[in-house]
Amino acid sequence: MLPFIYIFGIKISMYGLLIVLGVAMGSAVAVFFPSKKGVPKQDVIFAICYAGIGAILGAKILYLIVTIPQLLNYKEQIVFSWELVYELIAYGFVFYGGLIGGVLFVSIYALNYNLHFFDLIEILVPVVPLIHSIGRLGCFSAGCCYGKPMAPPFGVQFHPESVAPKNITLFPIQLLESVLNLILFIVIFVYSRKDRRSGQILGFYFIGYGIIRFILEYFRYDVVRGIFAGLSVSQWISILLFPIGLYFLRGMKLNKV
């Protein structure tokens, strides 16, 4: 639960470290155990790079979309500085934005280099919950994305250096989401071992994670939820993903897209 560790006197955020560890593990699984045979390893690695770029941009853009209207409420109090711009860019990411950005950038890669989008996406999708699972441990360390106040033993007190509220015990929903993502990874990984029709693995993930996220959102307590009509932005996206997932789960008629 340490937000920072010190290596040779250098302060390193556990959040960033665990995200990188998650991406490294996920990439290794995608490269060495691909669900689709015949895609060159180099293309898998490059597609991961594109997905990473898309994920960073998408997660940031969605965070800004959700946050800026809330920040505008405080516009009289805001003092412009480069530090502020830096913090706006460096702090805060929304997973769903990353997912959308990642998928979009993989499609750009596939289009640019004449590869089949679903061949690439079905290698990468099974490892997304693995990366997410390790990333949520990073959230737990940083004290962000926390759950509702709860008495021990289900509630925990976060580290004083973390961003979680002090002097209150909170439900560690990050750990629950991490475990559920790990289970989802195992299920999708096994599911992807058999020859599936194009889009089925993506559809399975959209539905599986959509359900998990929709339910877990009710237990979240962090401030930036972006609530619209009683539901959070992530819940709205989960609802949207469900029919899209169902469509893909049926399998595309054409094997090559």
Binding site: S13, C49, Y74, I78, C139
Partner: protein, 103 residues
């Protein structure tokens, strides 16, 4: 004969273009790695790293070369160091706190 020449010219043009991109990727990768050690320069580092990575991949696909590989590797290192050192999942409360400080 002329068809062969056209084909060779096409391959050469592609290779030259790939070389230019590989050089650009390597240069951006080096600058990005240097930037990550200078506080707010990390932001510039991550941007240059992303551009360097895309150019490196493009160059490697057009005409594989050691320079393109070096550009890709350096850009990835720069992005990874930025992510570890500077990106934090901090709730908006923190940002609001820093924005309104002084009040």
């Amino acid at each position: 004969m002329s068809e062969n020449n056209t084909q060779e010219n096409g391959i050469q043009a592609k290779s030259t273009q790939g070389n230019g991109k590989a050089t650009a990727s390597l240069v951006l990768g080096i600058i990005a790695v240097v930037c990550v050690f200078f506080g707010y320069g990390a932001l510039l580092g991550i941007i240059l790293g992303i551009i360097g990575l895309v150019l490196g991949i493009n160059a490697k696909k057009a005409a594989p070369s050691g320079m393109a590989t070096a550009g890709i590797v350096l850009s990835i290192i720069a992005i990874v160091v930025c992510v570890i050192g500077f990106i934090a999942c901090v709730a908006c409360v923190g940002i609001l706190g820093s924005m309104t400080k002084g009040f």
